[in-house]
Amino acid sequence: MAQRKKLGILFSGGKDSTLAAFLAKKLGYEIGCLITIVSQNPESYMFHTPSIERVKEQANVMGIPLVVVKTKGEKEEELDDLEKAIKKAIEDYGIEGIVSGAVESVYQASRIQRICNKLGIECFNPLWQKDQLELLEDLIREKFEVIVTGVFAEGLDEKWLGRNVDKGFIDDISKLKEKFGISISGEGGEFESLVLNCPLFDRGLKIVGFKDYGEGNSLRREVELG
């Protein structure tokens, strides 16, 4: 039997990267570590920002080591920081490839691909081009508990912050898709999410506090987990 490949998950704590990690594990790959880039720029083109510090608690309940690198989040400089993080994951955990939760963003996926190509490791994007409704339904079927931690589009307001991604969410956001043309899975950056529980976690995480920032249709929620 072929040896299981050891992979690093490019991890934001949101639904896509966690679902990608879940798929890798389900297919028998070994998850060597999670790799998180903490961007100080909330407008980052590459990296998810709301509640990003919560990845520590998520890594803890997954029992998987976490590599964290901070970046100022300036457009191309953040790619150097991503490369540093991947190099560290190769050195410290012997990973042979990266898994990302990229779905549609060629900007994001091609930059990750180029770094992996340069470092001579595989890059897998198991959600690539995935139908948005299918992605949300997969999360529900696999019993992911996901909440919204940021909204950044017309039609999405403070009432959506903290909302669970469930059947009702799909129904409501599908109506907004009809009205405003937004992506129901947030692929255009319309919303960001945080996974509180999924089959990779030993136990679910609970929100013990939160603070909201921003106004109107541009809001993010920083949560405290217990």
Partner: protein, 182 residues
Amino acid sequence: MKKVLLINICKEKLAYFEFVKPIEDILKKNKIKYVVKDYKEVSGKDLDGKSNVIICGTTIFDNEFLEEVSRFNWLLDFPGKVLGICGGMHVIGLIFGGKLDKKTEVGYYDEKFEEEFLGLTDNCEVYHLHNNYIDFNTLKEFMVFVDNKVSQAVRHKKREIYGVLFHPEVRQKELIRVFCSL
């Protein structure tokens, strides 16, 4: 009813989701029936009655299929239509006597189609993800439609065998539907 054969060349299980499933989704959306087979398991029975075959691509380093390219010798006398995508195009080139060369292209590129190719004309944005290519100008049986120094889209002169170096399952999805309608 027509059934398309999708050939999976991915050794890595995760790569299937990136290089085969998006093509399945395009076929499903267009109500085209299909079956997926691993390249190691393709037999004469699988090819019988299939008018259209797509050889899908895989990740940049997932190249085990190149070591076993003789498994695709059926291409030499298969009577149906074939579309090779990226790694699948490499397979076609190697079977017809081409040589693999190095060229890395990752991301969006504009390619100019002087003549219509599976529905593509003029300037088209395509998505590339490869470290290798084959110079089809060296293969007299093939016409090269786009040759931006690297053969990007080719067709056999006498048979309906097509190859694209780019990934139409990411940009230019219509090309897959057009090929399946031939």
